[in-house]
Symmetry: C2
Subunit: 466 residues, 2 copies
Amino acid sequence: MPHQNLNSVLARIDSDLDASLERLFALLRIKSISADPAFADDCKTAAKHLANDLASLGFATEVRPTAGHPAVVGKSNGQAGKPHVLFYGHYDVQPVDPLNLWHRPPFEPVVTDHADGRKIIVARGAEDDKGQLMTFVEACRAWKNVTGSLPINVTVLIEGEEEVGSKNFGPFLQQYKADLSADFALVCDTGMWDQNTPAITTALRGLVYEEVRIKASNRDLHSGIYGGGAQNPIRVLTRILGGLHDENGRITIPGFYDGVKDLPPDVLAQWKALNLSADSFLKPIGLSIPAGEKDRLLIEQVSSRPTCDINGIVGGYTGEGSKTVIPSLASAKVSFRLVEGQDPVKVRAGFRKYVSDRLPGDCGAEFLDHSLAPAIALPWDMKPLAAAKQALTEEWGKEALLIGSGASIPIVADFKKTLGLETVLIGFGLEDDNIHSPNEKYDLKSFHKGIRSWARILAAFAEAKL
Amino acid sequence: MPHQNLNSVLARIDSDLDASLERLFALLRIKSISADPAFADDCKTAAKHLANDLASLGFATEVRPTAGHPAVVGKSNGQAGKPHVLFYGHYDVQPVDPLNLWHRPPFEPVVTDHADGRKIIVARGAEDDKGQLMTFVEACRAWKNVTGSLPINVTVLIEGEEEVGSKNFGPFLQQYKADLSADFALVCDTGMWDQNTPAITTALRGLVYEEVRIKASNRDLHSGIYGGGAQNPIRVLTRILGGLHDENGRITIPGFYDGVKDLPPDVLAQWKALNLSADSFLKPIGLSIPAGEKDRLLIEQVSSRPTCDINGIVGGYTGEGSKTVIPSLASAKVSFRLVEGQDPVKVRAGFRKYVSDRLPGDCGAEFLDHSLAPAIALPWDMKPLAAAKQALTEEWGKEALLIGSGASIPIVADFKKTLGLETVLIGFGLEDDNIHSPNEKYDLKSFHKGIRSWARILAAFAEAKL
């Protein structure tokens, strides 16, 4: 039985959409790039901005410091006998470089037309995660405005370090453990299956992210004098990294696949039926040949198989023109997406040994650890899942899918470990949102129907026997 | 018989050293970085500065435009029956990055103490090539000041694009062919054997310098969504470049060694006797293992064998922290030092084919050509060589050596081809001068005795039957 006020709330969302967009834009204008210390004040500004907004809705709100950027906690209680959810989002965004590839300034949001006619919101963070988290906040606003309260008890928790590995989030949860108790968690940082098909994500890949710096000579050298005799750290680095994949796309680090299981035959059959083709998945991004293990389906390559990517590399002269230098240093950022069964500590150790074993005797390697998170598999039979799935299906007119995601959301493991909470992952992102890239966007439809979806989900949680 | 005025000229050089240094400093303060268009005006300023200085010595001087940075031509004639030399230098310098590794601003020259007590001149260009070319200009100044003229006829030609491959120099020589006629050329852009042993360079390696850009997807991607399925151009680039050398340090491009000859047994024996060890050559730069072909002497690796170096590489996220991006582009600068017998056009084609053959079907490669110069072997029996060798030996009190150099000076080929001139290569650089690196320096002794050496050489050319 639908909640008695739901239709009024949905009508309110529709009529309030322009104002909702204005509020999202205000948040998008804040340059809360967590990776760059130059934007630390902007991160504080974003936290305060969100705290003020939640307080205006009647949430009991605090900005709480961490060893890094602050987190925001807001509480709306008082619904005795109703479930209590812990909603998670993050206000920090990825760096914007290369800036010259943006069609407009990344922190000046606009609604514009996609080439195919869709209305899109363009800005850094438009999707990840400001747009997504505001779908939930706006749903709460509509409920509060129409009925004066929320249908369930809600704690909103918004952090500022998701894009840099959430290093201070575990200790934060530990510190406020009692204060953050709830029945289960909600995370809005995932995607839909496609533009018309909503999804709940029930499996996430883990992430090991390493930076490796190769050191050769004690200073930059002239290749005319030393070329041929002195070791070149870029040669060493390319030789080592160039060997990380074999000719079949398989990762060559000894022990890397330890613990990785094949999909159960029935799941594999379901995935085969989804028929994710190179044409549909790779063609829109200008590619045509799946780059992963040749004996796996493309959907396995991007969802259930572990991966290795070089996310950045730099060394020597990279300016215009030429310079005949042999640099003393070269470095790369290398990340691994992990699946259930893999131990991130072991993967990191395996990578470091792989590099060290291949170094010439007069070169050195230094490693920096940027992330160390295991993969997560959530139970497919959680009660909130069924309620949320039904609500999503009603909003979108198409059955919501339960899917695995190649992305990593390390905080889901922290919720389980520290707070004992399972997480329901719902989001409205699309593959072409350009998150972490120039010209990030969020479909206006995702934003609008995302707000409506959350309004329905809150009602469904209130009605369900959870 | 020594020239009658030589001793007075040498005395004048000694007493005028501080003023010579001041004049060098004025030139070093000009930021004439040819690779970076932002410094185009500084290049013009350097050309004008040198033209004014030469004019003040009575040279008939002109700044002549090219399609790039201008060149300076100055003529001092009137010594009928005496040889006519074309002296070549370049006023342009290498970029200064990484700036943070300089101990002081690169364009604020000083004389300071080296750790081992030597007096050194520190600045970008202190050696390459401003310090070196000013040894010749100051020698001319001393002759002019003492005797009112030079002992021989001299055309000074100073270009501004040596550090970017001298692309406009061939056409320039062609244009002014008649005007630049001379008996032979002098180039001051090479080094000594060691701090106490002067040298004349009679062989130079060629240079093929390529930039390669690998293109994969049509935009940057999130590795969480696409990782494992989408090709990563850094993976492609490292795989290709990492295979350029085999385990024995040999370059793997098919046909690369075509035409390369082994040293004649007597030369090999002489080189063996020089006993260039890893300890003496590599230890000062923090290395210990020769990186070239394992079956070759270190002196062969850096002098007579062709080489391949990756001079720069960049792709993806290279800022602080981490970003889970799969970039759409990755690029590298790759150079090859060539020896006699190798065809640079064939080497370039071989490299491009090597890369293209190894590209995944959905990736592309773009190539930029930064240099294409063959190796040079000069005749060891040139008459000016003997005169210059004798003059150098007298100045330094140690027999001057005839040596091969790993560096490339492409203009030597242009002098031969366009003007029909052989070149005598004399310079006073040392291996630890950090040219093309932070903290470039020139020994004060190199500068002072370099000026004296040229004063003697000019006299020797006037006396010799050339």
